[in-house]
């Protein structure tokens, strides 16, 4: 290695340029902070599994819409107070301004709209009536109409017999509105009772519940929205408690998850970041006992973090909150370069002059950054952001140490002495315990035979552990909602008796009319699945919005069998005793509505579309799309197969959870192969630098560390996923440094530097191991075990003191 003369300071121009760059970065950061977008949507971390651009947009638009929807159940034991309790809750929500819509009291807007839009809706038929007319079984329709006129059946019809003698409009209207599940309309509120259908586990049987729906006004993934919404909900809960002291609220909605996850992440960032900093400060004070290293190191960490955030902001236009959680590990890793620098200045016996550590710093930084860059192989936006964040932060920290340290330390030294903050003392020597640690050798601790025995034991444990490894690629590795949220959601679902999940059917076609046509062809398939008990039901725009083609066909059926002279209308009205004028008026109404159709534009403006409007995605680029929700999808594989088998182009079964799990598995396998490739390449690189024996010795600790980490995961019954494998790649990047530094540096300083580096990394990632986010935890424990093992092996296998 070429040794430049001490103190290895870069040329003044380079220092000046670097200083300007840092100041520019800090200025840019200060300017960008107000515009910084903190993303909290966990889905944004996930890979897209959509097959086409339109599908991708459709899934995104639907997710955006549904993530704004909230359903609350408000419960009390007092049925008399239920309405007022729910009203207090709903009114307070409205008052908060956090919601664009709050629905509680049921009014007659739907039937009023159906009456007002009668002429557009003349050709709409209920499925049952369409079937009767298609079969030509007009007699059944007539019989049903006559029966209804004489029996209580008429009471169920929103249109009067005079206006709708055949009950066609009433039936179409009834079919159009989605059911209320287990909830019942009582007065003007929806009421659900616990255990009404013999369900168990819903708790207090005497409690009655009413239902409030709300739509969030702000972006559900902004932390500002979370604050407003959560406060509004809490105030509304208090308002309901004032009406009924035993009032209880349970809510269900994506924003509740987002808010919980974001809150948790903020706590973790504060806790992990704070503990990390405390550990770093303590370590520096313990080892160096000087003010300068502390100030300079903390500044370095700060600048590196700014650079990391700015890099994400520039590339992604946002910083994900989990990137920041993960980013707390930057503190522990970026501090390494500064520590190496200060350790290197420590005098120790044998070597009085500091060594040129620049090549070792560059090599170490390169391998670590390379470790993070392997995260880029998986098309998972979250990992890419983490990789960019870490790589940018580390490169910055390394550059600062190389380019700015020597000169700025001299300047600081003068400043501190003038301020009497620091005494003019030579750097502290390497502490005595490090010298002892550095002097320790396995050979001197254990007799040779015992050494082999220990090695054999470790090998056996490793083989046993690795043999027990199992893989689990589950998207749930990415998030685990808090149990109280899951319980509330189950309560809402149980009370509503409806359980739409994340799987749905997407229909995309060139025109809205084609979308509706496809949807109508899909209906029998879905109906068949419901008949077979594989689905409980479906929710789509279907019964409410009908293709023009179907409206034309239905109109033709009506014209021929119902409204033609001597048809069903004449016969039924005649038998009931209506005079010719009344019959003529009804026929004239049908005839005059000729050519009027219910179009998607009309429909979207009608109050009648409200319950399913969010399922109509409308125009996406040049295409149009709609979504069909599946209720009680108990056998997703069969349902998927049935829909895909019968599906024509444009129909897709979307199961993001399964698709993403599949992607995670695929990339776990790719990353495992990559790990072998990386190890080979690494060995090749080291072979170029060192003699073959030394190269193997340098690569060995990292490889052994990986094997031991895998074995530990196996022994701990921790199923391995993509995140573990990628963390092992990171361990490789971090661990090779240890061997390089131990090899390149002077013995005592190198031992201290590697020990400090390992300790800070262990603390940072060990803290991540306590994260509530499963994938952050996976990375945390893997890296923590990995660096610890690698350090121990590197120490045991290091070359003899030069």
């Amino acid at each position: 290695m070429a040794n430049t003369p001490s103190p290895h300071a870069p040329r003044p121009t380079r220092f000046a340029l670097a200083l300007i760059a840092v100041l520019a970065l800090l200025a840019a950061f200060a300017f960008a902070v107000p515009h910084l977008r903190i993303e909290t949507n966990l889905l944004a971390l996930l890979p897209s599994t959509a097959e086409t651009r339109v599908q991708l947009d459709a899934v995104k638009r639907f997710a955006d819409r549904s993530s704004r929807e909230l359903v609350f159940v408000v419960g009390t034991a007092s049925r008399e107070r239920l309405r007022a309790t729910g009203l207090a809750f709903a009114d307070q929500l409205k008052l908060s301004g956090a919601f664009s819509r709050v629905d509680y009291l049921v009014d007659d807007r739907y039937i009023a709209a159906a009456r007002a839009e009668r002429s557009q809706r003349m050709a709409l038929l209920a499925t049952r009536h369409r079937g009767q007319l298609e079969r030509g079984d007009v007699a059944a329709l007539e019989r049903e109409s006559l029966r209804a006129a004489y029996t209580p059946l008429a009471f169920t019809r929103p249109f009067s017999i005079s206006d709708d003698p055949l009950g066609l409009a009433s039936a179409a209207f009834a079919e159009e509105l989605p059911g209320t599940g287990r909830a019942r309309l009582e007065g003007d509120i929806l009421v659900a009772r616990e255990g009404a259908r013999g369900d168990k586990g819903l708790g207090d049987e005497n409690r009655v519940w009413t239902i409030v729906r709300a739509t969030t006004a702000g972006d559900p993934y902004r932390t500002e929205t979370h604050a407003v919404v959560m406060e509004a909900i809490e105030l509304a809960r208090l308002a309901s408690v004032r009406v009924a002291a035993d009032a209880e609220i349970a809510g269900s909605g994506v924003i509740l998850h987002a808010a919980a996850a974001a809150g948790k992440a903020q706590d973790e960032i504060a806790t992990f970041g704070g503990l990390d900093l405390v550990a770093v400060v303590l370590l520096i004070l313990l080892v160096f006992r000087q003010l300068r290293p502390l100030v300079v190191t903390l500044l370095t960490i700060g600048i590196a973090t700014c650079a990391a955030i700015m890099a994400c902001h520039a590339v992604f236009g946002e910083v994900h909150i989990l990137t920041l959680t993960f980013g707390t590990s930057l503190i522990g890793v970026s501090v390494d370069y500064a520590m190496h620098y200060f350790v290197n200045r420590m005098p120790s016996e044998g070597a009085q002059h500091p060594h040129n550590i620049v090549p070792a710093l560059i090599l170490g930084c390169t391998t670590t950054v390379a470790g993070y860059l392997t995260f880029l192989i998986a098309p998972i936006p979250g990992l890419r952001q983490i990789a960019l964040f870490s790589a940018a932060g580390l490169a910055t920290a390394c550059a600062i140490v190389i380019l700015l340290y020597p000169r700025s330390l001299e300047m600081l030294s003068r400043l501190f002495r003038r301020l009497r903050l620091e005494r003019d003392a030579p750097p502290r020597a390497v502490p005595a315990w490090v010298a002892r640690l550095a002097g320790l050798r396995v050979e001197s601790l254990l007799p040779r035979a015992a050494g082999w025995g220990v090695l054999a034991l470790i090998l056996a444990a490793a083989v046993f552990g690795v043999a027990r490894l199992e893989a689990r690629d589950d998207v749930r590795a990415l998030q685990r909602p808090p149990p109280e949220l899951v319980a509330a959601e189950q309560k809402v679902r149980g009370l509503l008796g409806v359980g739409f999940d994340t799987r749905f059917v997407l229909v995309t076609m060139a025109t809205p009319e084609a979308v509706l046509g496809r949807l109508e062809r899909l209906e029998p398939v879905l109906h068949g699945l419901v008949e077979r008990g594989l689905l409980k039901g479906t929710l789509s725009v279907g019964p409410s919005l009908v293709s023009i083609e179907r409206q034309r066909a239905d109109r033709a059926l009506l014209a021929r069998q119902v409204y033609a002279p001597g048809g069903a209308l004449d016969r039924v009205m005649g038998q009931l005793g209506f005079d010719a004028d009344a019959i003529t008026a009804r026929r004239a109404e049908f005839v005059s509505s000729d050519g009027q159709f219910l179009t998607p534009e009309h429909w979207l403006e009608s109050p009648l579309s409200a319950p399913v409007r969010h399922l109509w995605l409308g125009k996406l680029g040049t295409d149009s799309a709609t979504v069909v929700l599946l209720d009680g999808n108990v056998a997703p594989d069969v349902v998927r197969a049935a829909i895909e088998d019968s599906a024509e182009p444009g129909v897709a079964y979307v199961d993001q959870v399964a698709d993403i799990s599949h992607v995670l598995g695929e990339y776990r396998r790719i990353a495992s192969w990559l790990m072998l490739v990386v190890m080979t390449v690494m060995l090749a690189c080291l072979l170029v630098f060192y003699r073959s024996g030394a190269a193997v010795r340098t690569a060995f600790p990292a490889a052994a560390g990986l094997a031991l980490t895998l074995a530990t995961l196996g022994l701990l019954h921790e199923p391995v996923n993509l995140f573990h494998v990628l963390s092992l790649l990171l361990v490789l990047g971090l661990g090779v440094d240890y061997a390089i530094i131990l090899r390149e540096g002077r013995n005592q300083q190198a031992t201290l530097a590697v020990f400090l580096s390992m300790t800070t990394t262990l603390i940072s990632f060990g803290l991540l191991g306590f994260s509530s986010v499963p994938f952050v935890r996976s990375i945390g424990i893997t890296v923590a075990f990995g660096v610890a093992f690698t350090f121990l092996v590197a120490l045991a296998a290091r070359p003899r003191t030069r």
């Binding site: 019989r143 008429a154 169920t156 929103p158 009067s160 003007d188 008796g497 005793g577």
Partner: protein, 216 residues
């Protein structure tokens, strides 16, 4: 001229009915007051598992000179449902339970409507249940109640829906009776009116026989 006279008579009759109804609705009452008013049938009801009897229903529709008249038997079984068996002008069995409606006619497929699919239907069934069981507590959730005594032991209860949502199904209803419920007049949102007269109302402390239960 004849037709004109008929219309005039009909208008007078319905006018009288409206005045009659208004009279009831001017006296809002609490469920407690109404319970006192209807204590005679309530006492019989409290012991009965099944109430059965005969009915005559007349439905007055806009545009029809004559009401549509039907008659038959009814059977209300506590906690089970109502069987409304129309015998004239044709045979049709209408069964109402908490889960929904089933209508069976000779010659046709039974028609089933689930209450979960049609919220309005559940309201209808609850109102029917409450009327026959004189469950004032339950009725008070859906309706504002009013009432007055008629004669020595008679009474009349008026019901107006609390919510517009119900207004399209029922505009108002009047239940009248003495020792038992005598009749119900229902007016729907379209201005159609149905009068149901009950007779031979029997309160049966025994539950349904196995044979009767099969109908539900």
């Amino acid at each position: 001229m004849r037709a004109g006279l008929l219309v005039l008579l009909f208008a007078a009759a319905s006018g009288a009915a409206a005045r009659d109804a208004d009279d009831v609705f001017t006296r809002p009452a609490t469920t407690k007051e109404l319970a006192a008013l209807t204590r005679a049938p309530a006492a019989s009801l409290s012991k009965a598992q099944v109430v059965h009897g005969k009915f005559v229903q007349r439905r007055y529709l806009a545009g029809l000179a004559r009401p549509l008249e039907s008659s038959g038997t009814f059977r209300f079984a506590r906690g089970v449902g109502i069987e409304w068996h129309t015998e004239r002008p044709f045979d049709s069995q209408f069964v109402l339970t908490d889960a929904g409606i089933t209508q069976r006619d000779e010659g046709g497929e039974p028609l089933r409507i689930s209450a979960a699919d049609q919220p309005a239907l559940a309201v209808v069934s609850r109102v029917f249940f409450a009327l026959f069981a004189l469950d004032l507590e339950s009725l008070s959730h859906d309706f504002t109640l009013s009432g007055r005594p008629v004669g020595d032991s008679g009474w009349k209860i008026g019901l107006k829906p609390r919510a517009e949502a119900l207004g399209s199904v029922f505009r108002q209803a009047v239940v009248s009776g003495a020792a038992s419920v005598h009749g119900v007049t229902l007016e729907d949102g379209n201005g159609d009116r149905s009068e149901i007269e009950l007779s031979e109302v029997t309160y049966d402390p025994k539950g349904l026989s196995a044979d009767e239960r099969r109908n539900f």
